[in-house]
């Protein structure tokens, strides 16, 4: 916990200092980092429900899309300024999560996964039929050519999401979530209102995701259903979280950093499909060799690297 605490503080300081960077970077790096902040925020948000609470959501991208559309609608049709629109998007995303959460969070394991997945797919199809949202044509937003603005907003969302996670992890609420993950019946016996805690966790997760979606919409200036309800975002959230370490405070950000760096390197190398094949191979290795993510190595240093333990763990996960 000590080493972990130092790591969290260190990462937050590094992130805060990176706010000074944009004037010294070219547009490409500003773009890459903005995207990294966005993906990290999404992974941090997923971690609250998937990592801490143990509910593997395949529907978090729903809130990304909802946030994006709420912001676009507020800015385009109602002519609201960005900040009001973004706040509106956050509220809508969180409310939707609370509304869906009551019935859906009763499901567990596979059933929760499928239910959330079908919500994500269904939402995309539903939004694509709505006239006010431009149906399949999507929506356009006003242009803000100051791309540093988006860098700072995404960075802000990320820092807030990390601090929020740290705060939750140390709170009674956080303990309740972990208790639910470990044994939901036992948690209930301990007097934890599991239903309320789960819905609250999902709503917070959705609020962060919605904020990122709203900012993305303004940044990209154009959204359509396949872009903002893209299931790949959801899969990336999960992979990044697992790589860094699910249920840890900054694991998702670290995982996102590593995966973004690899993706950036491979994507810049060639346009042949090989780079995607390599990315797939890397995920295979992560899943097999790092089932608990990188966090144990980051906090415990090389001591955590124990070949015997790794082999024992591999043996246990095989049949």
């Amino acid at each position: 916990m000590q080493a972990g605490g130092r790591l969290v503080v260190g990462i937050v300081i590094v992130l805060a200092l990176s706010a000074l960077l944009p004037p010294h970077l070219n547009g490409n790096w500003v773009h890459v980092l903005t995207l990294f902040f966005m993906m990290s925020s999404l992974a941090q948000a997923w971690n609250l429900i998937g990592g801490f609470t143990g509910y593997a959501s395949f529907g978090n991208v729903t809130f990304f899309g909802t946030g994006a559309y709420a912001c676009a609608y507020a800015m385009d049709a109602m002519r609201w300024p960005f900040w009001t629109a973004a706040l509106f998007a956050v509220v809508v995303a969180a409310a939707l999560a609370a509304l869906l959460g009551w019935p859906i969070l009763r499901l567990r394991g596979h059933y929760f996964a499928i239910a959330t997945l079908s919500i994500a797919v269904g939402m995309q199809a539903l939004v694509a039929q709505q006239e006010p949202f431009g149906k399949g044509s999507g929506m356009t937003l006003p242009i803000n050519p100051n791309f540093h603005f988006f860098y700072w907003v995404m960075l802000g969302i990320l820092i807030v999401s990390i601090l929020l996670t740290a705060f939750i992890a140390r709170s009674r609420f956080g303990y309740a979530l972990v208790a639910i993950r470990e044994n939901e019946e036992a948690a209930a016996v301990l007097g934890i209102n599991a239903a309320r805690a789960k819905v609250a966790a999902w709503a917070i997760s959705a609020a962060i995701t919605g904020a990122a979606g709203a900012t993305f919409a303004y940044w990209n200036t154009f959204i359509d259903p396949p872009t903002v309800f893209d299931l790949n975002y959801n899969v990336l959230m999960i992979i990044m979280t697992l790589l860094g370490g699910a249920g840890t405070i900054v694991g998702p950000t670290i995982g996102s950093f590593i995966l973004s760096a690899i993706g950036e390197y491979l994507g810049a190398q060639s346009i042949s499909p090989w780079h995607t094949v390599v990315l797939g191979a890397i995920i295979v290795f992560i899943v097999i060799l790092l089932p608990r993510g990188l966090m144990p190595y980051l906090t415990g240093g090389l001591r955590a690297f124990n070949l015997g333990a790794l082999r024992a763990q591999l043996r246990a996960s095989r049949v």
């Binding site: 593997a56 019935p103 859906i104 009763r106 499901l107 394991g109 596979h110 059933y111 996964a113 499928i114 239910a115 997945l117 079908s118 919500i119 797919v121 269904g122 199809a125 539903l126 694509a128 039929q129 899969v235 999960i238 992979i239 697992l242 042949s272 499909p273 090989w274 995607t276 094949v277 990315l279 797939g280 191979a281 995920i283 295979v284 899943v287 097999i288 089932p291 591999l314 246990a316 996960s317 095989r318 049949v319």
Partner: protein
């Protein structure tokens, strides 16, 4: 078609507790197998190449399970989910590298001819597809209940440790199960090759539908998957008729959600305590 795509998926899910995202790419590989046999010197009809397609896919799936997925088969569900997801993007992109992104398809002499019954026209291809799907399902059902291997597979799905104690090679059984799942995907691919365009990404569309059909039918319930497939087809058609083509996915997914919430054991299954 949906039923054929879902039977193997449902089997693997039910027996091994693995959600095989790569199932769609197996279907794609099966379709390519039939395609190459059709355009090759043999000019094999896709319906005749089903056994070969099944054999090829059995081998591929067996190897993948034995050497890759088996490494994390006991880890939490997310691990196998991500693993098969990673495999699916690798397989789809390898297919694109070797076979390019050209859209291919198979047109046979009987494509498009139909059977007219009263006012209804039923395309022969659809009829045959349905018959093959039914035959495969019944065959699988018989295999699972009558054969020794089938019983071993079911025993393993009920209690891994007990099965091992009674001398069952669990790793081998899992590989076999996954191989059978792959073979069924191969058959579905051969069927798909007659009606759909063949591309490296064609599998994507089948995965979500296999998901839905498996849940409708009840997980691991082989005959349920068949019923689920038919029900899904009907729901889609009715959704399209009454709410408009654009809403058919919404309607199908809404039904799925209701089923999960109120009948999680599927439409034809029974609740087990």
């Amino acid at each position: 078609m949906y039923a054929a795509a879902a039977v193997g998926f449902s089997l693997v899910w039910g027996i091994m507790n693995v959600i095989n995202i790569a199932h769609g790419t197996f279907i794609m590989l099966g379709a390519y197998t039939s395609y190459w046999l059709f355009v090759g010197p043999l000019h094999l009809d896709p319906f005749l190449s089903i056994p070969l397609s099944m054999l090829v896919m059995f081998a591929i799936a067996y190897v993948i399970q034995r050497f890759i997925i088996n490494q994390v088969i006991r880890a939490p569900m997310l691990a196998t989910f991500l693993l098969t997801f990673a495999l699916s993007i690798m397989i789809a992109n390898l297919a694109q590298i070797f076979w390019s992104s050209d859209v291919r398809s198979i047109t046979t002499a009987y494509s498009g001819s139909s059977l007219a019954v009263g006012g209804l026209t039923i395309p022969w291809v659809r009829l045959w597809t349905l018959l093959v799907a039914v035959a495969l399902t019944l065959g699988l059902q018989t295999f699972m209940t009558r054969s020794k291997i089938g019983r071993a597979i079911r025993a393993t799905s009920m209690d891994v440790d007990a099965a091992r104690l009674s001398g069952v090679g669990v790793a081998g059984i899992y590989a076999l199960t996954f191989g059978i799942g792959g073979a069924l995907a191969g058959a579905a691919g051969a069927l798909a090759s007659v009606s759909y365009a063949i591309t490296p990404t064609m599998g994507d569309a089948f995965v979500v539908r296999a998901f839905i059909v498996s849940v409708l039918g009840g997980l691991g319930n082989v005959t349920g998957a068949l019923v689920g497939g038919l029900v899904y087809g009907v729901i889609e058609s009715f959704g399209a008729l009454f709410f408009g083509e654009g809403y058919k996915d919404v309607v199908a997914l809404a039904v799925l959600l209701l089923v999960i919430l109120f009948r999680p054991y599927g439409l034809v299954g029974r609740a087990t305590a």
